[in-house]
Amino acid sequence: MTDSRLDLPQGTLDLLILKTVALEPQHGWAIAERIRQVSSELLQVQQGSLYPALHRLERRGWIKARWGASDNNRKAKFYELTRAGKRQLDADAANWRALAGAVGQILDMS
């Protein structure tokens, strides 16, 4: 199970979190779960880095937090994207695609 996991390049976690909460407000655990599921279990977010990242993003004003009720009706802290976060996500996503495309082209050289 551990062998198939990928290490996240520096800074990618922020992008993944922003994208995940862009769809709908999520709490921390659900964000990690969503990333794991969507990436077909390839990307496993280290819990130890998830919460610092969430607080870092909140400090930068890209996401904001509020307390709400979870699916099983427990009190949970939900994070949602702010307008600044949306801009950041768009810029980061474009950067990432460009970078990935460029790296891909180089690797596809024959």
Binding site: G28, P52, R59, S70
Partner: protein, 894 residues
């Protein structure tokens, strides 16, 4: 950016709530994880374990989140500070020792900073103060060594003539503002009573020059500043508050000065204070100088003290060069006149000789260094005791940097506690200084604890805590865990390199303490000599009262009114019970001014180009010498024969006789020119010779002096001196009442006892000796504590060695001697270095010394001997403990 600030703000203010929320959040996460695992069929216990494992420890995550908040550093600081406070409480004796030592060091330094700040840094509270200069006249030869250094070999006066004043105003380029400013004693009628107040007659440009903007009304204009103008006045804030009840409508009201109503046209701000260099610091009311100046025809007759501002880019030498040219052309325009000008920066003039203050400041800085060395010593002892604690913390995973930072935080907490105590002590110190300060020190009310002083104390505490905290912190950062855990209680090897550092600290402390003690000793020695100085007169049981007659009622044109007043006053006072004798003098000893006159012995007119001798002179009544018990060497006192109509007679001092008629056995009957030295001028005859006295300063050697009879030169301002057998306070009261019986309009403000005047003259040396003595005593105390502490620590660290020595046959007295020898060796090195350093330091002191040389051998020897004795005492106590070591116990312990 804003969100960042908001986040940090919330974190700072609601830190604990955010922590709680974080805990909840992480708890929720954990539960979700467990739930998920359980649904996948994992048993509850296993699910909990795996969930915890995947989260990686709630505490660590929380710590990381806190770091991400950007508040980690702050959190750590408060955590460290809280820890430090716990340590502080846990070891009260150590805390007390450190805080007291630091408090005294910081307190002394802060006090002296407050003094220097008030007396020097804030001495000239005017814009562009560095460009303000004072101008005066000089007569006689001037020696110019360089553009900046001139020696005035002739007479130097602090005022110039009105002719020169006008000329400088209109001709100088180097000076952009030129104002006359003369202190005047005025009689103000306040609430119907005459009261003498200090005032200043100033030019219209005076307030602009000093950047003073009246808070109500305005300053003078050129229209006010001329003869015959309507009389107007500008009030100081104090006078306005006191006598106009801070009435904003005071402008336009009237104040009676010298019996003339003056219209108030302005009120100065509270912060304004006239320049002390021109003796205007106490001025309470300002009047235009143009109204009171006589137009002089003689350009050598000086009457206007001048204040000016250098134009931008000009300096004192260039102004001097320009004024030399002005003086040269004025001398041509006014043949026979000879006045030249001097220019001096006002800051130099005001602050004057600040040497003693700076030396005192230096002394307290040295004291602080000694105190810090002591505290560093204490900290090092404790660091060795805490080696184990620190090793444990490092082993438990605390970073070395973190441990070092925590130790530094600890020393900062100690430093701040010491600083707080220091501020408290400085508050007291400033009161003591104000109480001890000589009365002449006008700016002493500038000395106060304000924000600047507070900031200084804060900075000092932090700098000091870095100084004494650095060595232990560095040690901690480097320490070897294994060793630290093994050498629990500081065995033989523990902290070996520190032994050298500690010895160096002790030697350094002794050196510095000796330097301070030598300086203190020299000053005390000098003070003792000054206090025993042969005054030449007997000040005990003599009262004085300055009697300034108002010029309006006693004009120069009617000298007989003055004569009548003073002879009536004298006869009444002499008739008073308990009065032995009473007399008058212009410019009483140790407190009054003096007249200066040119003189030449009969038949010896100065050669062309040669300047006549100028000597101070005083106008006295008969029985003056009897009243002050000044011995009459030959001839007689003034008597009824010396009337205004009789030929001029004089009594001269021994130095005067020796100077004018060297080698003559008797000078009574000799004649000399006085004032106008010319063949056709009238001559004055010597009728008596009296002993030299210390008339102006205690330190001064006798100089030629001349006395004239008041009956021949009636005076408006005079001091009455009275020898009596009454209570001093009662006598002064009686004197004032008697004076007012003769004329109720005379303002009587200055009076006291001659003894008091002598004490006041001793004020400044006394202040220096007391402060220096106190500081050096504290320094010696600190050095001894340092010596004691280091030896005590060495004895403890070497207990095992001592035990072995005893077991091998050494006796207890051997060990005591060994320890004392070691301690004294350190002290001896310190004393030897100290003597060399003190020889340099004391040369800085030499201008302040009277009767002792800076290298006074007895003082050096006495101080060194004293130091040896106290060092021996400091060594004896720990040494005795070494002698009590029980070898069996020691060997058993190890």
């Amino acid at each position: 950016m804003l969100s960042d600030l908001w986040y940090r703000f919330r974190a700072l203010v609601f830190g604990s709530r955010m922590d709680r929320e974080l805990d909840q959040e992480l708890q929720f996460h954990l539960e979700q994880e467990i739930e998920k695992l359980r649904r996948a069929g994992v048993p509850q216990a296993d699910a909990e374990r795996r969930a915890r494992l995947s989260l990686g420890g709630v505490a660590q995550v929380a710590e990381h989140v806190r770091d991400a908040r950007g508040l980690g550093a702050f959190d750590r600081l408060t955590q460290d500070a809280r820890y430090a406070l716990r340590v502080l409480r846990r070891t009260p004796a150590f805390t007390l020792a450190v805080v007291l030592t630091l408090g005294v060091g910081i307190g002394a330094t802060t006090t002296m900073f407050a003094v220097i700040d008030g007396l020097i840094f804030r001495a000239l509270p005017y814009p562009n103060a560095d460009r303000l200069v004072q101008i005066g006249a000089t007569f006689g030869p001037v020696q110019v060594d360089s553009p900046a250094v001139r020696r005035y070999l002739g007479t130097v006066l602090s005022s110039i003539s009105t002719i020169d004043f006008d000329a400088i105003r209109s001709r100088s380029q180097a000076l952009e503002h030129v104002a006359g400013a003369r202190g005047v004693a005025l009689t103000a009628t306040l609430a119907g009573e005459p009261r003498g107040i200090s005032g200043a007659a100033v030019s219209a440009s005076f307030f602009d020059l000093l950047g003073a903007h009246p808070i109500h009304g305005a300053g003078f204009t050129a229209a006010h500043d001329r003869l015959g103008a309507e009389p107007v006045a500008v009030l100081s804030y104090g006078l306005w508050q006191e006598h106009f009840g801070s009435d904003p409508q005071a402008v336009g009201r009237s104040i009676t000065l010298d019996q003339i109503p003056h219209v108030v046209i302005g009120v100065l701000p509270r912060s304004f204070r006239g320049p002390d260099a021109l003796e205007l610091g106490e001025a309470q009311v300002f009047i235009p100088i143009g109204r009171v100046l006589r137009t002089e025809t003689d350009r050598d007759n000086t009457s206007v003290p001048v204040l000016a501002r250098l134009s931008a880019g000009r300096d004192v030498p260039s102004a001097l060069t320009e004024l030399d040219g002005v003086a040269a052309s004025l001398a041509k325009e006014h043949p026979g006149s000879s006045a030249k000008f001097w220019v001096e920066s006002l800051s130099k003039k005001t602050i004057g000789d600040s040497r003693s203050l700076w030396l005192l400041f230096g002394a307290v800085c040295v004291l602080l260094v000694i105190a810090c060395a002591n505290v560093a010593n204490l900290f090092m002892v404790r660091a060795t005791e805490r080696t184990r604690e620190i090793a444990v913390r490092v082993a438990m995973g605390a970073g070395r940097g973190r441990v070092a930072r925590q130790l530094l935080t600890e020393s900062a907490v100690f430093g701040l506690a010491g600083g707080a105590l220091g501020l408290l002590l400085a508050w007291g110190g400033v009161q003591v200084f104000a109480a001890l300060a000589p009365t002449g020190l006008a700016r002493v009310d500038n000395v106060a604890l304000d924000l600047r002083v507070f900031a200084f104390a804060l900075a000092l505490s932090l700098i000091a805590s870095v100084f004494f905290g650095l060595a232990p912190a560095r040690d901690a950062a480097r320490s070897d865990i294994a060793n630290g855990l093994r050498d629990a209680a500081g065995s033989l090897t523990a902290g070996k390199p520190r032994v050298h550092l500690r010895r160096a600290l002790v030697v350094g402390q002794t050196t510095l303490a000796l330097v301070l003690l030598v300086c203190g000793g020299l000053l005390v020695n000098s003070l003792a000599r000054l206090a025993r100085v042969e005054l030449g007169f007997d000040p005990s049981n003599v009262a004085y009262l300055d009697v300034p007659l108002p010029p309006r009622t006693y004009p120069a044109a009617a000298p007989e009114k003055r004569t009548a007043f003073f002879s009536e006053l004298l006869s009444r006072v002499q008739a008073t019970a308990g009065v032995t004798s009473a007399a008058l003098i212009t410019g009483r000893p140790l407190g009054g001014g003096n007249f200066v006159t040119s003189i030449a012995a009969e038949g010896r007119l100065p050669q062309p180009g040669e300047q006549p001798l100028r000597v101070p002179f005083h106008v006295v009544s008969s029985r003056y010498f009897e009243t002050l018990a000044i011995p009459v060497i030959e001839g007689r006192d003034f008597d009824n024969a010396d009337t205004a109509q009789a030929p001029g007679t004089a009594i001269v001092s021994r130095a005067f006789a020796g100077r004018l008629w060297p080698g003559e056995r008797s000078v009574v009957g000799k004649r000399f020119w006085m004032g106008r030295v010319a063949a056709d001028a009238p001559l004055t005859t010597v009728v008596g010779v009296v002993e030299d006295i210390r008339h102006y300063r205690l330190e001064e050697d006798s100089q030629p002096m001349l006395y004239r009879a008041i009956a021949q030169l009636p005076q408006r301002q005079s001091s009455m001196v009275v020898r009596h057998q009454n209570q001093p306070a009662e006598m002064l009261q009686t004197l004032r009442r008697t004076t007012w019986q003769v004329d109720g309009t005379v303002p009587l403000e200055r009076y006291g006892t001659m003894d008091g005047a002598v004490r006041a003259a001793l004020g400044e040396p006394l202040l220096g000796a007391v402060l220096f003595g106190t500081f050096s005593a504290i320094a010696v105390g600190f050095a001894c504590v340092g010596l004691y502490g280091t030896l005590a620590w060495l004895v403890r660290a070497r207990r095992r060695e001592m035990g072995i020595r005893l077991a091998l046959g050494a006796t207890a007295p051997d060990l005591v001697r060994m320890i004392i020898r070691q301690g004294l060796r350190l002290a001896a090195i310190g004393i030897a270095l100290g003597v060399v350093a003190a020889a340099f330091a004391s040369s800085l002191l030499s201008p302040l010394l009277y009767g002792v040389g800076a290298g006074d051998v007895p003082t050096f020897v006495a101080v060194a001997a004293l130091m040896v004795i106290v060092a021996a005492l400091a060594c004896y106590l720990p040494a005795r403990r070494a002698g009590r070591v029980d070898p069996a116990e020691i060997l058993r312990d190890s």
